[in-house]
């Protein structure tokens, strides 16, 4: 209001009329909020990442790149690095492949809606809730006792010995954790890919079939190329998400037994060990890892939008 009066007196809504101010007025609130809640914390975090311990007894002040050095040399940090890579590869591959599979195959099934709902339901459960549920699935009781864990109950039923799923390092337990993630997020990939699949004109596929293409060929030559932009967006979204993976690991193993991931390490340094500098350095590295994927994602999304 006041602004409007000001301009009216001087130049008679000049700025508003020429449209120089108008876009700023619209974008202003969002920009303000973003800079307050995103830009400022990011800068502050980056600054903190060059500082040592905050408390009086052993306060260290500015320590340069020490925190980053720690990040790339500490043994548990390196384990976290390896595991994050494992998560990115396995989790992303399986969520996207399963999502694609459900999206294309369920289209031909009579009970499509029910099955899709079932696949999607885990999305409605919080990550912590899902982790707690799966912790029960993987629970261990010694041989001879009542197996309270579903998986070990099955193993024992078929005459096997109960397995300590979450402590068998380094492959079994990491797989067990990643499966939980896949279980939750496959539904998300399925829904988006299915929507894109339904948009493919049926004539294209029918024409191919009439020309004698097998179903396999229809999938690889028609469906997949058309879905490619969507698959790319879903894949990058999954990668961005899984780089930050935290809840599942925190709840189920807390990074013990070589299951550590970067974000859980960040939490520990921050809230358990009060090493704000180190936690900030981890956050910055994580951010730097995610930025290229985000840029790629945005570009793909734009391309897709222009095609439409």
């Amino acid at each position: 209001m006041a602004l409007g009066i000001f301009f009216k007196r001087k130049r008679g809504y000049f700025l508003l009329r020429t449209g120089r101010l108008q876009p700023w007025l619209f974008i202003g609130p969002a920009l303000l909020l973003l800079s307050f809640f995103l830009v400022y914390p990011s800068i502050h975090t980056t600054v903190l990442s060059f500082f040592g311990r905050p408390y009086s007894a052993g306060a260290e002040g500015f320590i340069g790149v020490e925190n980053y050095k720690h990040f790339f040399t500490d043994r548990s940090m390196l384990t976290a690095f390896r595991n994050n890579a494992l998560w990115v590869v396995i989790f992303t591959t399986f969520t996207v492949c399963f999502g694609l599979m459900f999206a294309t195959l369920l289209d031909r099934v009579r009970y499509e809606k029910i099955i899709k709902a079932i696949v999607f339901i885990p999305m409605a459960i919080s990550m912590v809730g899902a982790s707690v549920i799966w912790k029960f699935v993987y629970a261990f009781r010694p041989a001879g006792a009542n197996q309270v864990g579903l998986l070990n109950a099955i193993v024992v039923f078929f005459g096997g010995k109960p397995v300590g799923w979450l402590i068998e390092r380094p492959w079994i337990n990491n797989w067990c954790l990643i499966i939980v993630g896949i279980w939750i997020w496959t539904g998300f990939c399925m829904v988006i890919l299915s929507a894109a699949y339904k948009n493919i004109p049926r004539e294209l596929m029918e024409a191919a079939r009439i020309d004698g293409a097998s179903e396999w060929q229809v999938f690889w030559r028609i469906i997949l190329p058309i879905l490619k932009p969507t698959v790319a967006v879903v894949t990058t979204t999954m990668i961005v998400f899984v780089l930050k993976i935290f809840d599942i690991v925190y709840v189920m193993t807390n990074g013990n037994f070589s299951t550590e991931v970067i974000a859980n390490r960040m939490y520990k340094e921050m809230f358990s060990f009060y090493r704000y500098g180190r936690a900030s350095a981890i956050a910055v590295v994580l951010l730097l890892l995610i930025i290229p994927v985000m840029l790629f994602n945005i570009r793909r999304f734009r391309e897709q939008e222009t095609v439409r």
């Binding site: 261990f140 010694p142 013990n256 037994f257």
Partner: protein, 421 residues
């Protein structure tokens, strides 16, 4: 205008007067970490004091961030009169800064048990008052199960190993051990190592270990872990072997003692595990169906020291009200109310044992009162990156089969980094 200023002045002076009047009422401020049931119990403990003395006790429930808050308030010269310290390590830090009031001559400590007075000493001066304790050096067992098999309570480490072998020979499993505790997994194991360290190396070396005056590669530290290995690295000794120890929730693990036939015979855990046992097995009678014996001594030189934790109060300001409150908290009356409400053990030796809810707590209180050496849970005294970090994960790694030297090297690496000196 003038009238306005006058009115303002009047209001201000009135406010000032009320402020001064308020100040005149005797009051003492105490900052605590407690909330919930503990805070309620503490408020209840203070009622008789407030009624008798007319001193108003202001409790500030700060929560887990208490150390940070105290550091900040000290820096600006406005500490609370009293504070419940999270642990003796924190107290020592404040005492070394000269922030705490020495309590000799101010507080009557004649009724406190000696071990706890020693524990609150820094350079031979007492800087804290322990009002209660939890005892950790306890082994829980079922007297009925022991009697049925003719087992006897072991009073030395070799006797305990012998008993373990006997149980295994009879087709049983000696220990119920569960170290799973969510994000805090591992603390059960560190308690074991600490208890053993106290018995094999003695309290002096234990203190040096906790304050990192000796390295994690020191032979005494290694020896303590090896003793722990004598138990946990014998798959026959632990219910469920290593996976059982690593994956069973600590609160569930003692239940193995009470199945028929027993899945295990012994369980080493602190006083508080009783509530877990009774929760899962409400029909059990304390003293008959389950009982405790002290974790057996290992070296005859160091006898039977006790490991535990306690509630500790230190003073930042020396006022008449502070002194009065500290003396009250040292008394049998205050500790009686506090311990009865929470099932904790009193540090005041004259507290009537009848306040304790069951024979087990009475027994634990007796053990505590007669303790020659008491040491605070070491992992609580170490910097969190070690005590709640690599020590926890190290114990889990050790039990899962990682070689001891690797485990100790990784704890050592984090200790070099975490201790500030």
């Amino acid at each position: 205008m003038l009238r306005k200023i006058l009115a303002m002045a009047a209001v201000l002076s009135l406010v000032g007067a009320v402020g001064i009047l308020g100040f005149a009422q005797k009051q003492v401020v105490i900052a605590v970490v407690w909330s919930g049931a503990e805070l309620e119990a503490f408020e209840k403990t203070l009622i008789p004091f407030e009624e008798d003395t007319g001193i108003d006790v202001v409790i500030e429930s700060v929560g887990r961030d208490l150390p940070a808050v105290l550091v900040t308030r000290l820096a600006v010269g406005n500490p609370p009169d009293l504070a419940a310290m999270p642990n003796p390590g924190q107290m020592k830090e404040f005492a070394n800064q000269g922030a705490l009031v020495a309590l000799e001559g101010i507080v009557d400590l004649s009724e406190s048990s000696k071990a706890f007075i020693d524990l609150a000493k820094v350079d031979d001066r007492v800087y804290g008052l322990f009002i209660s304790a939890d005892l950790k050096s306890l082994v829980w067992y079922s007297p009925k199960a022991f009697a049925a098999k003719g087992y006897e309570v072991p009073t030395s480490w070799p006797a305990m190993i012998e008993l373990c072998n006997k149980i295994v020979a009879d087709g049983g499993t000696p220990w119920a051990l569960g170290m799973e505790s969510g994000a805090a997994s591992g603390w059960v194991g560190t308690d074991w190592v600490e208890d053993i360290m106290l018995r094999t190396a003695g309290p002096d070396l234990y203190d040096k270990w906790v304050s990192y005056e000796i390295s994690w590669r020191h032979p005494a530290v290694k020896k303590a872990w090896e003793y722990f290995g004598q138990i946990v690295q014998q798959p026959n000794y632990i219910y469920g072997g290593a996976p059982g120890a690593l994956m069973i929730f600590f609160g569930d693990s003692p239940n193995a003692l009470f199945t028929d036939p027993p899945e295990a015979y012994m369980h080493r855990q602190a006083t508080f595990i009783q509530s877990f046992i009774l929760n899962a097995n409400p029909d059990l009678v304390p003293g008959e169906d389950y009982d405790i014996f002290p974790f057996p001594p290992i070296s005859p030189i160091f006898g039977n020291p006790l490991l535990g934790a306690g509630d500790l109060i230190s003073a930042f300001n020396d006022t008449a009200e502070t002194r009065a409150l500290l003396n009250y908290l040292a008394s049998a009356e205050a500790q009686g109310i506090w311990c009865k409400a929470l099932g904790k053990l009193a540090v005041n030796k004259t507290v009537d044992p009848s306040i304790y809810p069951d024979p087990i707590t009475v027994k634990a209180a007796e053990m505590l009162a007669n303790a020659e050496v008491f040491r605070f849970d070491g992992s609580d005294l170490m910097p969190a990156a070690v005590g709640a970090g690599t020590f926890w994960s190290g114990v889990l790694d050790f039990v899962s089969g990682i070689p001891l030297d690797t485990v100790l090297a990784s704890i050592e690496a984090s200790a070099i980094d975490a201790y500030t000196k």
